[in-house]
Subunit: 175 residues, 3 copies
Amino acid sequence: MVHKCRQEPSLVDHEMSVLTGSEPRRGGASFPRVSTFKVHQERIEIATRGRGLTDVSRKVQEIVEASGIATGVCTVFIQHTSASLVIQENAAPSVRRDMETWIERIAPEDPNAYEHDDEGPDDMPGHLRATITKTSEVVPVTKGRLALGTWQAIYLWEHRRTPHTRTLIVHVQGV
Amino acid sequence: MVHKCRQEPSLVDHEMSVLTGSEPRRGGASFPRVSTFKVHQERIEIATRGRGLTDVSRKVQEIVEASGIATGVCTVFIQHTSASLVIQENAAPSVRRDMETWIERIAPEDPNAYEHDDEGPDDMPGHLRATITKTSEVVPVTKGRLALGTWQAIYLWEHRRTPHTRTLIVHVQGV
Amino acid sequence: MVHKCRQEPSLVDHEMSVLTGSEPRRGGASFPRVSTFKVHQERIEIATRGRGLTDVSRKVQEIVEASGIATGVCTVFIQHTSASLVIQENAAPSVRRDMETWIERIAPEDPNAYEHDDEGPDDMPGHLRATITKTSEVVPVTKGRLALGTWQAIYLWEHRRTPHTRTLIVHVQGV
């Protein structure tokens, strides 16, 4: 479902190597302990084909790796209101098909249901579908990797019928 | 929809200016590099008029500016279970009206639908509406500003019929 | 609803005690100002009895206390796609019963409704229920405690019929 995915240059990359005092060692010797607190933020663009779920886990993991952060949190934020984020099953494609079918039932595309239709009949249900899913997902980072469960992937959920370019901000903070 | 909005004094404001070593410069000179890691937390109260969406983006942006943080993450947290947060379209008011109409259909105020009615018939649907929207929204900070998309605003969604005073905790962390 | 809850050893616990310069005092004296930035991450396992809400607030609060962090943010992340997180009312049990009844209506267990049924008829509705609730909850930390409102608790929401062991990552970051 990802057709092209252009990764822009890192927006910000801060490191603070901090001399945190000395650690006592057996025998009376000591050596300085250094921790590095890091802040890393990138913006990426994802081209969607129209309605559907696009797995962005690998792209986000690449940013986590670029950050050099071993332990921290990764925030993925989508700058749109008719596309959203969700963490769901990465294995059976039937799960994603059922998600689409179900959300069409809950927040249907129905020309008579909504007042707002300036941008077409698929726009307002897109806002509703984004409302009950996520604008940001926050995932811990453990040993340099997103701490996703075995069956989890981070999806960008396009709710509009036509292809769109969607912007995500990925922010990683930790040590 | 915001009638009054009292901002309490900053609860906490930490700065750590850290000498992170020296940066080599052409010609052999070097100068010290200093990064400042900051933690800033405020509590604000928002008075609502009863059911509806209140745009709190400007208040949150003011707190981000007060923090002095250029790159980081801002967490907005609501301390209630019958009011919630959502990031949605900031332009057409018809979007907000459709959101209200739709959520009334999905989690209706119906005296026969729920066991829990101690606090009135609008309370339990309020809990359900909060359940499928957000208790916290996490927004990256870029160049000292919330990295919201052009059409995004952060809304406090009051689900009770009567006016309430709602407390938000805004926490900003970064450099 | 919690039957056993095994807490594993802390995965990571970083401290950076930072000499942040000296603070001027009246009379011309000064003393060094030290801030400590901390990162603390633990993994916990929660045994569920099958469908229902398990209050995990106390376990998460214990981890916040173990971190020694006074001001920061706590991220709770669930590594599953048919169980989820939600912050809701901690008082009336009728609220939780109404939540279960309502979500069964919105995303019903119905053998004819879904294509995906490899893992039984309760699996796909579980994915849908997780989709509209949360995979992570982010709660500010204030004065060493989760900044939950008076009536708020953090719940693990098991959506499968049978008992499961669910893994949460709790990450606390701050000063």
